[in-house]
């Protein structure tokens, strides 16, 4: 399992692996926002928490089809399914690798982009913390969606349609934490709720995803 983890990480760093694409997408999205809504810093400051969270969410979505699709096409997913490790473990490891290569860079880049959007200085701390807590949920929910659509020819758009509604609770609590942090309010409740969602997703969704993959491989 550890080897599988390193394999996924190495693959994503090599050419064509898509590492950095999510980050670049995040940057472009944040750049586009002022063109859409105007450059007034007050307005940007108000919408910054939401924009940063939605940007992270979409950047995460962009690379999800890589979790299983490539392995499904070249047959390594079949090998992994018959390997002497549980498929649930495979899913969890792959989701974790996805988080390390996509979610973690987003967490690190978000403050810089928050700077572009005039994010309130009190909110930076909470932005980092909430992204750190919330992005694993994005990867694990995403892995479930990717597993559902793995056998489909053009599953990408369908996958977005299936996953984005599932992201709603994470988004609500995440953006709420940053907004409250910016306003200097207590952030305990939404942060705890978000941590709950993440832990629930990490604990349970690998089982659902593995079930979906077994169906797709049948």
């Amino acid at each position: 399992m550890i080897r599988l983890f390193w394999r996924d990480i190495t693959l994503s760093f090599r050419s064509g692996g898509g590492f950095g694409l999510g980050l670049a997408f995040f940057l472009i999205l944040v750049t586009l926002i002022p063109f859409g809504v105007g450059p007034e810093s007050e307005l940007l400051q108000v919408i910054a928490p939401g924009i940063l969270w939605i940007g992270a969410l979409l950047a995460c979505l962009l690379s999800l089809d890589r979790i299983f699709a490539l392995d499904f096409e070249d047959g390594s997913l079949d090998l992994l399914a018959t390997a002497p490790i549980p498929l649930e473990g495979v899913v969890a490891v792959k989701a974790l690798a996805h988080w390390i290569t996509t979610g973690l860079p987003l967490v690190i880049a978000a403050p810089a982009l928050g700077f572009l959007l005039h994010l309130d200085s009190a909110a930076y701390r909470w932005l980092i913390i909430t992204l750190l807590v919330g992005t694993p949920a994005l990867s694990f929910i995403g892995a479930f969606g990717a597993a559902l659509t793995v056998g489909l020819k053009r599953g990408g758009l369908l996958m977005s349609l299936l996953i984005l509604p599932l992201y709603i609770p994470t988004l609500i609590f995440g953006a709420e934490v940053v907004r409250r942090g910016a306003g200097g309010f207590l952030v305990g409740t939404p942060l705890a709720m978000q941590a709950g969602i993440t832990m629930g997703a990490v604990a349970l969704l690998p089982f659902a995803a593995a079930a979906a993959i077994r169906v797709a491989l049948r």
């Binding site: 479930f144 559902l148 659509t149 056998g151 489909l152 599953g155 369908l158 349609l161 299936l162 984005l164 509604p165 599932l166 709603i168 609770p169 609500i172 609590f173 709420e176 409740t189 939404p190 709720m193 969602i197 969704l205 659902a208 079930a211 979906a212 169906v215 797709a216 049948r218």
Partner: protein
């Protein structure tokens, strides 16, 4: 009284299902039409106008039952999906598939009638109120579920994957409901028909509403049986075509 639970499953045998629904369907259809007409006519023409809301209150007879159905149909899909996963009854999962379209329509009816009522009453068609938002999210779940059915060719694969989606979706739908409550306080009034509330809607409105709700339930039963029969026939037709193609070779 001892109930023979195994006999219950026989009703879901496709052949037996076709034969009993063939007889039961007209009964449900006629009852649904009667209740529907009775509830709506009673509600629209024979109840007084509300002293504050005027005649707009009458959209309640469409809005409340469709909203109730929108939620309950998802619950029914959850149950039938579970039955498919556990017992692999084809009729069960086809019923879930048939119900999804009806559920999405009910959600849409609830949203649209709500918007029509909201304009004169709240001064806006749409507000990001928790209840309204939850229904919009529910509609997205229905759309995703139906899209997944459409996308997969193999019917058994589609049944398995949509059932898993339905289970996970149910958890997230409930989660979204409470997350949305947390996110924004709303305009929508509280439940007006709950059993335990102190103050409910007045009896004059309550009885026709009850009839309209019964009409919606019967309409749903009629439609879901009809659509499930269609699905079973489509499945049989497909099997016949395959057999013919094999015979030609």
């Amino acid at each position: 009284m001892a109930i023979n639970w195994n006999a219950l499953w026989e009703w879901a045998n496709p052949r037996k299902f076709m034969s009993w629904t063939d007889r039961a369907l007209p009964v449900f259809a006629v009852l649904a039409a009667l209740m529907f007409v009775a509830g709506l006519v009673w509600g629209f023409f024979f109840t007084p106008d509300d002293y504050r809301q005027g005649a707009t209150v009458k959209i309640f007879y469409l809005h409340v039952p469709s909203a109730m159905m929108a939620i309950n149909i998802w619950a029914m899909m959850l149950v039938t999906s579970l039955i498919w996963i556990v017992r692999r009854h084809h009729v069960s999962v086809l019923a879930a598939k048939s119900a999804a379209g009806i559920g999405a329509t009910m959600t849409l009816i609830a949203l649209i009638t709500g918007a029509i009522w909201g304009k004169p009453m709240w001064g806006t068609y749409w507000e990001w109120d928790p209840r309204l938002t939850s229904f919009l999210i529910l509609l997205l779940f229905y759309i995703g579920y139906m899209a997944l059915w459409e996308a997969i060719d193999n019917p058994d694969t589609a049944a398995d994957l949509t059932s898993v989606l339905c289970l996970v979706g149910s958890v997230f739908a409930i989660l979204s409901r409470y997350a949305v409550l947390f996110w924004n306080q709303g305009l929508h009034q509280g439940a007006s028909l709950s059993m335990d509330a102190e103050e409910n809607v007045a009896d004059v409105y309550w009885y026709p509403a009850l009839v309209a709700i019964a009409g919606f339930v019967l309409l749903f039963i009629t439609l879901v049986l009809l659509r499930t029969r269609t699905e079973i026939r489509a499945r049989r037709l497909h099997a016949l075509e395959m057999r013919e193609r094999v015979a030609e070779q």
